[in-house]
C-alpha cells in the first residue's frame, strides 16, 4: 500500500473538482448541476443506469463537450471549457466505451501514439528520421516496451489491432493511455463486454496502475461487483443528476441508489 492509500480517500489532496456542472444538447439535459471531486491517488467510480450522463461527464472532463454552466478545477486551475489537446498536455488520459484504437496500426504503434506529447524533437529532424529524432524514438520505444510487459501483451506487439479480440483491444487502449504517463486516467467502461477471466485481468491491471504508478483513476462501470471491489469512492448519477456520493458501502445502502437501479417510478 502506498502512503496515499493509507489516508482516508476523502481527506487526500484535491486533483479535480467538478462544481455545479450542467450540460445540455438542445432541449436534452444530459447533466444537471452535478458536483463532485476526485482526490489524488484514489480510484473514483462513476456509476448509474443507462443514459444517466456518465460518459457525458467524462467528455466534459477531457474537453470533448463544453458544459453550459459550472466550473472544472484541475490541479488548482479553474475553467469551464477544457480542450482535448490541452487536457492531454496536462496529464489527462482516457479510454473509450467503444474501443477507439487506430485500427490500421499495430499494437506497438498504437501505444507509441500515446508518447506523442512526450516527444520533443522538431519537424526538421523528423524529415530525415535522423540525429535526435532517432535517439528519441528509441528511448520512447523502451518506455512502450515496459508498458507492453506490464499489460502482458508481448505476443501481439506487431499485430494490427483491428484483428485482435475485443478484450485485448481494450487492453491495448489502456496501454495507449498509460503511455501518456497520465496523472488522471479516465476509463469509460473498461470491462464492458468481457468475460469473467478478462474482467479479473483488467481489475488487476487497474489496481496495479493505481498502486505502482500512483495514477488517479476515474472509471465508469456497470458491473456492480467490480465497482464495489475496485473503487475507493463512488458517485452515482441518474437522469443527469447526482443522487449519491460516498464509499462503496455507503452507496450500496443508499435508498435512492437502490430505487434508481430497481426502477421505481419517478
Amino acid at each position: 500500500m502506498s502512503a496515499a492509500e493509507q489516508l482516508a480517500p476523502a481527506s487526500r489532496e484535491l486533483l479535480l473538482n467538478i462544481e455545479n456542472v450542467s450540460l445540455s444538447f438542445g432541449g436534452v439535459k444530459a447533466i444537471r448541476d452535478v458536483s463532485f471531486d476526485v482526490r489524488k491517488g484514489e480510484i473514483r467510480a462513476i456509476i448509474g443506469p443507462n443514459g444517466a450522463g456518465k460518459t457525458s461527464m467524462l467528455n466534459v472532463i477531457n474537453g470533448f463537450y463544453h458544459p453550459q454552466e459550472g466550473t472544472i478545477t484541475y490541479r488548482g486551475e479553474s475553467r469551464r471549457d477544457m480542450r482535448p489537446h490541452i487536457a492531454a498536455t496536462q496529464g489527462i488520459a482516457r479510454t473509450f466505451q467503444n474501443v477507439a484504437l487506430f485500427r490500421g496500426m499495430t499494437t506497438l504503434d498504437n501505444i507509441m501514439t500515446g508518447r506523442t506529447l512526450k516527444m520533443k524533437t522538431g519537424l526538421f529532424w523528423h524529415l530525415f528520421r535522423w540525429g535526435p529524432a532517432e535517439t528519441e524514438e528509441l528511448e520512447h520505444r523502451e518506455q512502450v516496451e515496459r508498458i507492453i510487459d506490464f499489460l502482458e501483451i508481448q505476443a501481439i506487439r506487431k499485430t494490427p489491432v483491428g484483428r485482435l479480440p475485443y478484450g485485448l483491444q481494450k487492453r491495448v487502449e489502456l496501454g495507449r493511455a498509460l503511455a501518456m504517463e497520465p496523472e488522471l486516467l479516465l476509463l469509460d467502461e473498461p470491462m464492458a463486454g468481457m468475460n469473467l477471466e478478462e474482467k479479473e485481468d483488467m481489475s488487476r491491471f487497474i489496481l496495479d496502475v493505481s498502486s505502482q504508478f500512483g495514477t488517479t483513476i476515474a472509471l465508469i462501470e456497470h458491473d456492480m461487483g467490480v465497482v464495489m471491489d475496485l473503487s475507493d469512492r463512488v458517485v452515482v448519477l441518474d437522469y443527469g443528476q447526482k443522487i449519491a456520493d460516498g464509499t462503496p458501502d455507503e452507496v450500496k445502502s443508499n435508498q435512492d441508489v437502490i430505487d434508481a437501479y430497481l426502477g421505481v417510478a419517478h
Binding site: 477531457n62 470533448f64 482535448p84 489537446h85 492531454a88 498536455t89 488520459a93 482516457r94 473509450f96 477507439a100 484504437l101 487506430f102 485500427r103 490500421g104 496500426m105 504503434d109 507509441m112 501514439t113 500515446g114 508518447r115 506523442t116 506529447l117 516527444m119 524533437t121 519537424l123 523528423h126 524529415l127 528520421r129 529524432a133 524514438e137 495507449r176 493511455a177 501518456m180
Partner: protein, 319 residues
C-alpha cells in the same frame, strides 16, 4: 477479322521483340511520366489520409507553385532564394487553408469539404491570373541549374535517347516520394497522421493536435505540388493547362487506393508505363493519341474488379 485480331494481339508484341531499343525508349518515357504521376498522386493521398478530403485544388497548387517560381525569377530574384520563397508561399498557403477553410468546416461531411476545395481551386486560378497573368510561361531551366542536353546510348542494336532533364525529374520525384514515404511511416508525426486518419476523437485524446497535422499535411502537399510544377513545367511550359495533367492523378489513385503511399507509387508507374506503351504500340490502330484517355480506361477496369485499389483499405461496413 483475323487481321484485326492479329493487329491487336500479335503484332504489337512482334514489334516489341523485333526492336528492343524502341521498347526500352518507350519504357523509359513511361518511367519518367510514372514517377511524376506518383508525385502528384502523393499530394492527393497525403491530404486524403489525414482529412478524408479529395483535394480538387491539388492541380492548381502545382500551377501556382510553378508560376510563383517563374514570376520571382523573372523579377530578378536568384534561383535558390526564389525556391526558398516559393516554399514559404506554400507554407503560407497551407496555413491559410487550415485557418480559413478547414477549421470553420470541422466536423462537416466530406462532400462539403470537397466543395470547399473546388472553391479553393477557383480562388487560386483567379489569384494566379491576377498576379502572374494568364499566358503560358517558360520555366527558366538554366537559372535553376536543370540540365537540358541528352545522352545517346547504343544498346540492343539501336539508339536510346535519354533527356537529362527527364533523369533529373525522375531523380527529384524518386527522392521526394521515398523521403515522404519514410517520413509518414517511421516518425512520430507520421504516426500522428495515421492516427488522425483512423480516429479523430482518439487522436485528440492522446494529445495530437488536428490543426497542426492538417497544416503539416497541406504544407507537404504544397511542397510536392511545387516540385511537380517545376519538373513538369520544365518539360513543357508553365500554364494553367498543367492542372489538367494533375488530374491524371485520379486514375493513379483509383489504381493504387486513395489512402496508400505505396499505392500512389505503384499506381503512378503502372499508369506511366501503361499509357506510353499503349500509345506507341496500340495507338496507331485507332489513329493515335490514346495516351490522354487510356489511364481512365484502365481505372474503369480496376473499379470493376477492385474498387478499393491495389493497396487501399478494404471498405467493410458492419451493419
Amino acid at each position: 477479322m483475323g487481321g484485326l485480331l492479329y493487329n491487336v494481339f500479335i503484332d504489337p508484341f512482334m514489334q516489341m521483340g523485333s526492336a528492343p531499343d524502341l521498347l526500352l525508349q518507350v519504357l523509359w518515357e513511361g518511367f519518367v511520366s510514372g514517377t511524376l504521376y506518383a508525385l502528384i498522386a502523393l499530394g492527393f493521398v497525403l491530404i486524403f489520409k489525414a482529412s478524408g478530403v479529395f483535394n480538387f485544388a491539388q492541380g492548381i497548387m502545382v500551377v501556382f507553385g510553378a508560376l510563383s517560381l517563374v514570376g520571382l525569377i523573372a523579377l530578378g530574384v536568384p534561383a535558390i532564394l526564389a525556391i526558398v520563397m516559393c516554399i514559404g508561399i506554400m507554407a503560407a498557403l497551407a496555413y491559410s487553408v487550415e485557418k480559413l477553410v478547414l477549421r470553420p468546416l470541422v466536423n462537416q461531411e466530406p462532400i462539403i469539404l470537397f466543395m470547399a476545395t473546388i472553391g479553393l481551386n477557383f480562388f487560386l486560378i483567379g489569384l494566379g491570373e491576377l498576379v502572374f497573368g494568364g499566358e503560358p510561361k517558360v520555366m527558366p531551366t538554366e537559372q535553376l541549374g536543370l540540365p537540358t542536353g541528352s545522352w545517346d546510348f547504343d544498346v540492343l542494336g539501336g539508339l536510346v535517347i535519354i533527356q537529362q532533364l527527364d533523369v533529373a525529374a525522375a531523380a527529384v520525384a524518386c527522392t521526394l516520394v521515398a523521403g515522404l514515404a519514410i517520413f509518414f511511416n517511421k516518425t512520430r508525426i507520421g504516426r500522428a497522421l495515421r492516427a488522425v486518419a483512423d480516429d479523430h476523437q482518439a487522436a485528440l485524446s492522446v494529445g495530437i493536435s488536428l490543426n497542426q497535422i492538417w497544416r503539416i499535411v497541406w504544407f507537404s502537399a504544397g511542397i510536392v505540388a511545387l516540385a511537380t510544377g517545376i519538373m513538369w513545367g520544365a518539360r513543357s511550359d508553365v500554364s494553367f493547362a498543367l492542372s489538367i495533367v494533375a488530374l491524371k492523378a485520379l486514375p493513379v489513385l483509383i489504381l493504387g487506393g486513395f489512402t496508400s503511399i505505396p499505392g500512389a507509387i505503384v499506381g503512378g508507374l503502372i499508369i506511366g508505363f501503361g499509357e506510353k506503351i499503349a500509345e506507341f504500340y496500340w495507338g496507331p490502330l485507332v489513329g493515335g493519341s490514346i495516351e490522354s484517355w487510356f489511364p481512365y480506361f484502365l481505372a474503369l477496369i480496376f473499379l470493376l474488379f477492385r474498387p478499393q485499389g491495389l493497396f487501399g483499405e478494404k471498405i467493410i461496413d458492419r451493419v
